[in-house]
Symmetry: C2
Subunit: 480 residues, 2 copies
C-alpha cells in the first residue's frame, strides 16, 4: 500500500513539474477568497459577459465572476491578479452603454461590486462614505430624508451604482446647475497595481495638495485601479421645485430662449430639450398631451424656496412670451410628474419605433445647437434613417438617436456610418464625442480624433503609470 502511495506521489510530482497539475490562476483566487465569492459556473460567467450596450461588441466569457465583500477582498484579488496576469473587469450594475463593463479576455475575471453596498452618512460633515456597489437612487432617497442632496442623476439612477457612476463620471439633467459626479467625489480609496492601496483626497471640499488624483480616477472607466470606497459631498436639499413647458415653432428660438433664461439671474435645475420627432414618439407610445405641431419643446425646472420657484417660473414666462414662445406652467404635482414622465418615457418610446437604436450622447457648445441640429438631420436623411434628438440643452449635451431595423444588416451598417459623421460634426463644433456615456469599447477610435496624437500619448502614459501590466479593464477607452 505504502508503495502505491509513493508511486502516486512520484507521478504527482512529475505531472506538477511538467505543469499539468499546476494550479490555474483562477484557483488561486478561489483559494484566497473562497467559492462563495468566486463563481466559475458557465451560466454566471455568460450572464456577466453582457452590459447594456445596444450595438454588437467583442465580448469574451470570463474565467470567473468575483464578488468581493469588502476592501480586503479587493486587495487580495488585485494582488493575485497582478501576480498571475489576470485581467480584471470591474462592474457596477452593467447599465453602461459603451461596453465599459464587458469582459474582453477569456482569461479575465469580472469583478462585480454588488455585495459592497454599504454607506454611512455623516450629517455633521455633509459627506458620506460610500462603497462602490451602492445603488444611486437608494443612496439619494436616504440622504434626502436627512435634508441633504446628492444631485447626479443619470437616467439609470434607479439601478446603476455609485462605483459605476464614478467610473463613468455620470451626469444627468440636474448637472446643468449642480455639476457632474466628479464635483461630488471628495476622496477615494483605490487598489492599484500589485494590490497597493491609495487613499486619495479627504472628506473635505477644499484640498489642493498635489495633482488631483481623485478626479483623475473619476471617469477613468475602471482602467487605473479598483475603487473600494468613496467620500461623497452632499449639499442642502432644495426646499421646492417647479416645472414649465416652453413650445417652439422655430428651432432657432431655442438657443435664444436658453440665453435669455441663463442671463436673467435664474439658474434652472434642468433644461431638457425634445425635438418634433421625440415629441411624436412619446405621444405615439404613451400620450401625455404634448402638442404635435411644434418644432421643439423645452422642459424647464427650477428649484429653491417655495416662493422663489414661483417667482422664477413667472419671470421665465415674462421673458419668453414676448418672443412668441408659448409657456405652460405645471399647476399641480401631478401635472409636473406627467411632463417629466414624457421625458423619461422617451427611451422605451424609441425602442417601440424600431428594433435597433444607437443613442449617442454628443456635446455641442450651446451656441451652435440651432446650426447643428439641421445638419444632424441631414446626416439622417443622407442614410435614410430615422433620427430622434433630445437631451440636456442647458449644457449642450444632445442624445442623438439613430433608429434602424436590427434584422436589416444594410440598415445597421448605415446607422454605424451615420454615427461616424455625427461625431465628426460634434468635433468640428468644438464639442465632445461623449457627455455622459464614456468611451468604453464603442468610442475608442473617436477618442484619438478628439485628443490628437500628443494628447493620446499622454493618456496612454497615465494608463501605464497606474497599470503597467494593462490588467485593469484592458482594451477600454485607451489602447496601450
Amino acid at each position: 500500500m505504502l508503495k502505491v502511495i509513493a508511486i502516486f506521489e512520484y507521478m504527482r510530482k512529475i505531472l506538477a513539474m511538467i505543469g499539468i497539475l499546476k494550479k490555474k490562476p483562477v484557483d488561486k483566487l478561489l483559494e484566497a477568497l473562497g467559492k462563495e465569492k468566486v463563481n466559475t459556473s458557465i451560466v454566471e460567467r455568460k450572464l456577466y459577459s453582457y452590459d447594456a450596450t445596444p450595438i454588437p461588441i467583442d465580448r469574451a466569457v470570463p474565467s470567473a465572476v468575483v464578488f468581493p465583500e469588502n476592501h480586503d477582498d479587493v486587495v487580495k484579488l488585485v494582488r493575485i491578479c497582478y501576480q498571475e496576469g489576470i485581467p480584471m473587469f470591474p462592474r457596477g450594475a452593467g447599465s453602461g452603454l459603451t461596453g465599459g463593463a464587458v469582459p474582453t479576455k477569456e482569461n479575465g475575471v469580472v469583478v462585480s461590486f454588488e455585495r459592497m453596498n454599504r454607506f454611512k452618512v455623516d450629517e455633521n460633515n455633509t459627506t458620506a462614505e460610500v462603497e462602490p456597489g451602492v445603488i444611486t437612487a437608494q443612496f439619494q432617497e436616504h440622504v434626502e430624508k436627512l435634508g441633504l442632496f446628492y444631485p447626479p442623476d443619470p437616467s439609470s439612477f434607479k439601478y446603476s451604482t455609485i462605483g459605476g457612476n464614478i467610473a463613468e463620471n455620470a451626469g444627468g439633467p440636474r448637472c446643468l446647475k449642480y455639476g457632474v459626479t466628479r464635483e461630488y467625489v471628495l476622496g477615494l480609496t483605490v487598489v492599484v497595481k500589485d494590490g497597493d492601496v491609495l487613499k486619495l483626497g479627504n472628506p473635505v471640499i477644499k484640498d489642493v495638495a498635489g495633482y488631483d488624483l481623485t478626479k483623475l480616477f473619476v471617469g477613468s472607466e475602471g482602467t487605473l485601479g479598483l475603487i473600494t470606497s468613496s467620500n461623497l459631498k452632499l449639499i442642502p436639499k432644495p426646499k421646492a421645485r417647479a416645472t414649465a413647458l416652453a413650445l417652439f415653432e422655430n428651432l432657432e428660438h431655442v438657443g435664444r430662449a436658453v440665453t435669455k433664461i441663463m442671463t436673467s439671474g435664474i439658474f434652472p435645475s434642468a433644461l431638457e430639450f425634445m425635438d418634433r420627432d421625440a415629441i411624436k414618439a412619446v405621444e405615439d407610445f404613451k400620450p401625455v398631451g404634448l402638442p404635435r405641431d411644434v418644432e421643439a419643446l423645452l422642459l424647464i425646472e427650477v428649484d429653491g424656496s417655495p416662493q422663489s420657484v414661483r417667482e422664477d417660473i413667472n419671470q421665465i414666462k415674462g421673458l419668453l412670451e414676448p418672443m412668441g414662445i408659448r409657456v405652460k406652467t405645471a399647476e399641480s404635482k401631478k401635472e409636473e410628474e406627467r411632463l417629466w414622465m414624457a421625458r423619461k418615457s422617451l427611451g422605451p418610446a424609441l425602442g417601440n419605433l424600431k428594433s435597433g437604436k444607437i443613442n449617442e450622447d454628443i456635446v455641442f457648445p450651446r451656441i451652435y445647437l440651432s446650426e447643428a441640429i439641421p445638419k444632424l438631420r441631414q446626416i439622417a436623411e443622407k442614410y435614410h434613417l430615422l433620427m430622434v434628438i433630445f437631451g440636456h440643452i442647458g449644457d449642450g449635451n444632445l442624445h442623438v438617436n439613430l433608429l434602424y431595423d436590427k434584422q436589416n444588416r444594410e440598415e445597421e451598417e448605415k446607422a454605424e456610418r451615420a454615427v461616424d459623421e455625427v461625431f465628426e460634426l460634434a468635433l468640428s463644433y468644438h464639442g465632445s464625442i461623449t457627455g455622459e456615456h464614456g468611451v468604453g469599447l464603442t468610442k475608442k477610435k473617436f477618442l484619438k480624433w478628439q485628443f490628437g496624437d500628443i494628447g493620446y500619448e499622454l493618456l496612454k502614459g497615465i494608463k501605464l503609470l497606474f497599470d503597467p501590466k494593462n490588467l485593469f479593464n484592458p482594451g477600454k477607452m485607451v489602447e496601450v
Copy 2:
C-alpha cells in the same frame, strides 16, 4: 585692410570653435522673441524673483524675465527652453503664499503672463475664453454686467490672475456653494514639452472622453506645462444677497449651528468663521463694533431672489436663536459692507499685531472643528505664540495664523516648528495640508506625509510624463 579683416574673421572662427562666442541660451530667446519681450536687466530680474510668500525661501535671480504676448510666443519660448534646458518659472501676479511663482534656478527664466490679458465672453454659451494674465476681479466685473457670474473669490482676487488661479486651483468664501476654480475650467490650451500644443476639454460642461487632463492641469502649479488660454464656465448671477452675524459663547455650538443650517434646505453662499482673537484683532485695528465678549462668530451670507434671501435669513434666525445663539441681521447695504469689511480687514489687522505672520490654510472635516480648534490653541500655547484662527468653516478650511516677531530668530523658529504640528494635526483628522494656497516650495515635505510613498511615486510619474526634463517650474510641489 583685407588682410586685417581676414585675420579677425579667422580669430572669430577659432573663438566660436572653442565656444566663447557661442550664443548663450537666453540669446536664443532674445533672438526669437525680441528684447521687448525678453528683459535681462538686473533690476527686472531681481524684481521678478519674489512672490508674496511671508517666510524665507530659497530664491534665485533668473537669467531673464520673458513677457509673451500671445500663444505663439509661448510656443517659441517653450520650444527653445526645452531644447536648451532652460527652466521656466510661470508667473501670474506673484500673489501666491507658498513660493509657487518664485524662480529657484539662476539659469531659469521667469515667464510673466501679464501681457496676455485678453478675454472674450460668449454670452450665448455662458462661457468665456480667457488668457492667463487676465485679472480675476476685472473679469468678474465684466461678466456680472452681462448677468453672468464667475464665483471663485480668493482673497487676492483684486490683483491675482486667472492663470495663477487655475495653477493653484484657487478657492475663497463662496466656494462652499459654488465650488473652487476647477469646477469652472472647461477647457485649456497648454504648451508642453518641446513646444507641443494640447487642446484639452472644450467649452462645454459635460465631456467624459478620456482621462480628465484639463482638471489635472488645474492645481498643478505650473509644473506640467504653460497655459495660454482657458475656457471658463459662467453661471447666472444671483439676483440678491443678504448677510447675518451669529455670535457664539461656546465653540462647540459652531459646528452644530452649521449642521442645522446645511440640513435646512438653505445653501449659504458663505459661512465665515472668526475666533475670539480674530475679533479682537479687527476691533483693535479698525473697530466695526463686533462684540469682544464672544468665543467666536459666524458671518452667514445667502444669495438668491430678493424674497428668498429674506426668507432664508429669517429661517436661520429661527434655527439658531433657540440654541441660545444671538443672530444679527444686516439691515442695510451699508451694514452688510461693514460686516464684510471686518472679515476682509483681518489680514492687515494681523499684520499690525506682529511683524511676522505664517498663515496656514489647513482643512479639517467640519465635524472635527470644535475638537481641533482647542488643540490648535494648545500648540500655540506650547510655543508661547499668538495664534489667530479664521476661515471658511462651511468647508472646514481654516486659516491658522501664527504671529511672531520677525527680528526674533528664536520666535521665528518656534513658529516654524508649530506649523509642523499644525499640519500633523490636520492630517490626523483626515484633513489636508492646503485648501487654497497650494504646495509650492513651503509645503513640499508635508505633501509626502499626505500622499504616502506610493501616492508620491505616482505624482512624480505624472510630472515626468508631461515634463521629462523637469523644466516647468522645477522644484515646486513634487521633487523628481
